[in-house]
Amino acid sequence: MSRWRWLAAVEARRWVLWGVLLLLVAVLLTALAWLALRYEKAQMQDQLERDTVDAVGDVRAAMQRNVQTLQALQPDEQSPAAWVPPTEEVLRNHREWVRLEWRDPALLLRVGVDSVYRTPVFARLGRDNALADVEQACALARRTSAAAYAPSTFVSVQDGVGLEVMELCLPVYQGGRLSGFLVASYALVEMLEAMVRREHTRAQEVSFVELDGTRLALRGGIHRGQRIFSAQQMIDLPGYALVLRLDSWRALPNWLPNLLTVLVLGLSLALVTVLALLARDMRRRQRAERDLADALAFRKAMEDSLVTGLRARDLQGCITYVNPAFCEMVGFAADELLGQGIPAPYWPPEKVDEYGKRQAWRLAGNTPPREGTESDFQRKNGERFPVLIFEAPLINASGSQTGWMSAVLDISAQRASEELNRATLDRLQATARLATVGEMASLLSHELNQPLAAIASYASGSQNLLQADAAMPRAMGQQLSQALDHIADQARRAGLVIKSVHNFVRRRDQAREAVAAHTLIDSILPLVSLQARKTGVRLHLDCAPDLPAVWCDRTMVEQVLLNLARNGMQSMQDLPPGRARELRIVVRPCPDPGEGLVFSVADGGLGITSEVSAQLFTPFFTTKAEGMGLGLSLCRTVVEQHGARLQHRALTTGGTEFFFSLALAHKADALLAPALPQS
């Protein structure tokens, strides 16, 4: 739960970070665009300022030239009329002037010439209205002995339409004496027309304004766009200060360069995004690589921990991979094996042909058997060992087969134990057969001996009677006596034959030895547990390892225990399900100390009925369908041969216990000792 919350928090934080990043980028882009625009505006303003300065320079220069032009018009006192033609000529060349006058030092008009380009400006209102301006300018001019200007005034021409006029007064000196004044009336509008270059007026509005901002004259350009840039520059004239102002009507700065910037920025952003994606991809890849490395380490650990040898071969039979278990198995280092082809170094030389054929068969596309193939391998030191090989095709990622993967099991230990078990089994079964035959012979000899004994007895008895009876004719008596002797002899002979057969079968009878009790139990254990597993019986062994050794014929006692155990397990086969099936094999010391050991086999079966009990040891009596009826009989014989009795009793739990005792080995030694020569 908390982990989930933590993950959600991390996720949220990541989104916030991404949002902040995007916002920052947007702000940056906007700022860049804004800066670019501002830069462009500044550029425009600069341009305008430069234009204004240029224009002012032009105006100043032109006014200077005009003063000089005016000085060149020195009037002649004697012939004022002669002043008029050059003046008219000048006025034709200078449209900015609307009137030129020659006045005497008292400012009385001598000659006045109006511009030919317009109707005389002062005609309507009279020149006298403007005389105050002229006086002001000329007073200044007289004082400074240089050209001076008067502030401009509006002169109405007709119907409310008029123009701003500025008076220029130039004192005229003749012979160091003020002889008069030349007064020029500038029309400010015409000044703009004449003195400002056309390139400055084409795209912008040029105007003269007063210091307080009042517009005096205007020369308009075309209004394009809505944006106004303005720049102004003062023209300081003696007696008057004019301000030249340029207003530029411009469209908004062109977006195109900004768009390019934005495009570059966008591309950069895209690049950054791609980089981020790449980084994320890289991180994923790193994680995948780490996972892969983990998986590889896991696989390696798994392979190293396996006791099963793993071997991969390509389609040509070259070894491409072996795991440590395989190397250990065959005794070669991995370097010695990798890349080795046919024959492999661990193939026994004599089997190379066979294995080569098998390899070829497999390479031909046949599927190896699912249950594996048994082979013999050779270790580096030459030792052979059997292996079980399971093979599966190696399929690569694209689905085509690149070789074979084999799992190799070293089955030598398994083989050895199998062989040992088989040997034990064989031995026990052989002894069982022998014991059965022996018991059979024993029984036969017993059964045949009975009638033979009867025959011999009758013969001897008859002989006795014959000799005692004196009434019998002698010759006949002799013949009968001989016949009776023969009968007795033949019976004896038959008895000897039986005895010899019996001795032949029972020649092992003397093979007594000291055997530890647990050795007896251990040797029958494989067979007994095998059957116990088959019949679902739980085996309970109780044999203390420190019990003394007993003196017995090991093989035969094993047979007895085996038979009793088998009988016990078979007696529990018909138990109703749910009842515990337990076979207890117990070895304990005799109640009388030092007497020997009691071997007991107890089952949990249904017990032995009294009828069966009466015939229990009778040869050929059996309760089993396939039984011979010799087992218990044999057991009794063997136990009796060891000087003991095979006994049985019903257990309170319902089963039956068979038990017998065997003498201790050291006690048997003591018994035998007096028979040995005393040294």
Partner: protein, 212 residues
């Protein structure tokens, strides 16, 4: 060897033909037999389950080792338990397989064993030897029994005098020891000799020594 008079041979074997043949053989040598088909039969006959009767005649037992029910060995064990082995010698009849068992039984006091098919007259010889031993045992028992009866007939004083006589003391010393007169000793002595059916002191001591 003189055949023992009034001897009785018990034959215990589960096989009837063997039983009959043995009985026939033994009768041909003038021996009386009594046959049982199982150990249980003999046990019932001798009353081994209760107080066993000591046989009053010489007898022996031919016993098959292997029988259904109580086996020959089990019967043998019970005879040992009851102390009847000396009065009733046992000869085991065995097959080949049972020889070790039989040898073991002989070690524990059986008279002999005989492997089937037996060489018959030698078996009968062994039977007669067994019967003889049984007879001797019986005889000894009878002597012991009669001696006991004679001694039981003596008075207390006569028994004391008899002990002294057997020890070889002269009458005078006996009289001193028993604090009686020599004359009285002589009377007791004569009475003892009479009751014990002896004529001299030597004969008396011989008589008493026989059974130990």
């Amino acid at each position: 060897m003189q055949p023992v008079q009034d001897a009785l041979v018990y034959v215990v074997d589960d096989d009837e033909s063997v039983r009959q043949a043995l009985a026939w053989l033994l009768r041909s040598r003038g021996l009386q037999t009594q046959c049982f088909d199982s150990a249980e039969g003999l046990i019932a006959h001798l009353g081994l389950d209760h107080a066993p009767q000591v046989p009053c005649q010489a007898c022996c037992l031919l016993l098959d080792v292997r029988m259904p029910g109580i086996s020959g060995l089990a019967l043998f064990d019970r005879l040992i338990d009851k102390g009847l082995l000396s009065a009733l010698p046992v000869i085991f009849l065995t097959g080949h397989a049972d020889v070790p068992t039989a040898v073991d039984a002989v070690k524990r006091g059986a008279f002999d064993f005989c492997e089937k098919p037996f060489s018959d007259n030698s078996l009968v010889d062994r039977v007669e030897q067994a019967l003889q031993r049984s007879a001797q045992q019986l005889h000894a028992q009878q002597i012991q029994k009669s001696l006991t009866e004679l001694i039981d007939g003596l008075t207390e004083r006569e028994r004391e005098v008899m002990h002294c006589v057997v020890e070889g003391l002269p009458n005078k010393l006996i009289a001193d020891q028993l604090h009686i007169s020599v004359r009285t000793v002589e009377v007791h002595r004569a009475r003892v000799f009479e009751k014990m059916a002896v004529r001299s002191a030597v004969e008396l001591s011989n008589r008493l020594r026989v059974p130990g």
